[in-house]
């Protein structure tokens, strides 16, 4: 097994995992819709409500976004200015993709680096919601930031492998 082949297999495996996690996370959008609508209806119709169920609404946004941004990366959804990009040769596109991938890995590493201390601090003081009746274990929510960016960095690395392969294996014109 050559190193190139191993890298390609590894990249494909990450790609599949990301897609699966993205599909799973997409259910959160429906959960948010239903949870919020139920909260609103209960409050207006029966004046029933709880702090924790309202806090849960935005607690679900974080996993949706932090898993979704990697899923969006895998699906090529992130917007770019493509007026020149669209005219590049296959190699040119691969070069820009490689640059974007390397930058994305670097960004992920930096965000993880800074956010670990932030999560630790929240864990150390056992941070909870400032509202009575709110959710506890705030550090778990905050831990989604380094976790989400780890995932993002892995997918970006996988796409670097793909871009590098295209860069070396496609005709220059």
């Amino acid at each position: 097994m050559t190193p190139t082949y191993a890298a390609a297999r590894w990249a494909a495996r990450i790609d599949r995992a990301v897609e699966r996690v993205g599909h799973a996370a997409s259910w959160l959008s429906l959960v948010i819709v239903v949870l919020m609508a139920v909260n609103v209806l209960l409050r207006y119709a029966f004046s029933v409500g709880s702090v924790w169920s309202q806090e849960l609404e935005w607690h679900l946004l974080a996993p949706l976004v932090l898993a979704g941004m990697t899923y969006a990366l895998q699906q090529g959804e992130h917007v770019r200015v493509d007026v020149f990009y669209a005219k590049y040769s296959a190699r040119g596109k691969a070069a820009i993709d490689l640059l974007a991938g390397v930058l994305a890995v670097a960004i992920a590493v930096l965000v993880i680096r800074y956010s670990l201390a932030y999560v630790n601090q929240s864990y150390a003081i056992n941070e909870i919601s400032s509202d009575p009746g709110g959710l506890t274990h705030r550090w778990l929510l905050k831990a989604l930031i380094p976790l989400g960016f780890t995932f993002f960095g892995l997918q970006a690395a996988a796409q670097c492998v793909g871009a590098a392969w295209r860069l070396t294996n496609s005709p220059s014109r």
Binding site: V33, V65, E77, V81, V83
Partner: protein, 441 residues
Amino acid sequence: MSPQEWLAIGLLVGFFLMLMAGVPVGITLAASGFVFGFLGFGETLFNLLPARIYGVVANYQWLAIPLFVFMGVMLEKSRLAEDLLDVIGHLAGGLRGGMALGIIGVGVLMGATTGIVGATVITLGLLTLPTLLRRGYDPAITCGAICASGTLGQIIPPSLVLILLSDITQQSVGTLFAAAVLPGLMLAALYCVYIVIYGWVRPNAMPPLPQAERDALPRAELWLRVLKVALPPLALVLAVLGSIIGGVAAPTEAASMGALGSILVVAVARRLSLAVLRDVMRTTTRISAMVLFILICAQVFSLAFRGLQGERLIEDLFAFLPGGVSAEIWFLMALIFVLGFFLEWIEISYIAVPLFLPIFNAAGVDPVWLAMLITVNLQTSFLTPPFGWALFFLRGVAPPQITTRHIYVGIVPFVALQVLGVVLVFYFPVIATWLPKAIGW
């Protein structure tokens, strides 16, 4: 100039070069922010970063984004637009350009329900362009009308642009939603006037439905169809906007009711299935995460830009301008218009607008009015070649006999109408400020 100011300029130039080369927007923002932040300050600057990211992803207000996206994507599946257009064509009777007016009407309604420009242009293009061409409409004006009314979604509330601008300008979402109603309708009215005049000057460009076909549908049945087709989306719009503007529900809550309502509308139309639901959830996740990822990355950029005192740089730039606040507003408008040729609304609203906002705040400019000028102006960024998204979207779904030239030629008068819209809002601020004041925001 101080070394820091040079770095701030380097930040802007580096950002712009990477953006033009085709690196995705979010990555460009974060990468240029990190590089120049480190050069200027080293590590300390970014200790604040995790708290800022947390402020984006655990934010009650941003919940409105997945909810409104969900509602829009879901409604797209109900094929409302197709039925609406047909009914409006019949309603317009012998009037030339009746179906083109129908496109504008559908654009307004879809804008009021979805607020997603891409979805509206694609839907309108797929559903209406073949029909209108078959009916003998001129390709250029049809393309222009589709692109222009498809982009109305970004100004007619609820819209993602307004939600982002409310954050940038520190206004409540409800205020901006209320303020945008009249300017949005004004633009739609300008389009309609233009189409009616055009149909009058060039009768062959927009023939009405044939008499025989109109006679085949009795009046009573037509009105019944109008009721059946227009009622669900209208009810949804009224429920969502009414509860926001009337102050019954916060925008985010109203969005959740709209999203739930959209599921009901699609279910009533017998088009709800597990496959549709899955598709809607996945699209919602991708679009929402894409927008919020840009917001996350914008935090890095803004930390670096603020840290490097880029704001003072912009103030110095403005000090060169003669003519006081009015001239400064026009400078910003011209800048947004020109940037609109190259950048999209997300980039403009998160880069250009925050740079200039402190100056206008200090000068006491009404932020709601300014936000409306920006919004009307931003709409041109969807339409101006070479980077108008609306044009790409339409190009992607147009039948082969439509050339890029048709689209470019068709869009010119509508861009001119939008510039007219900016001028009107500038000289008559009441268009933007009356409704929010009247309902007491």
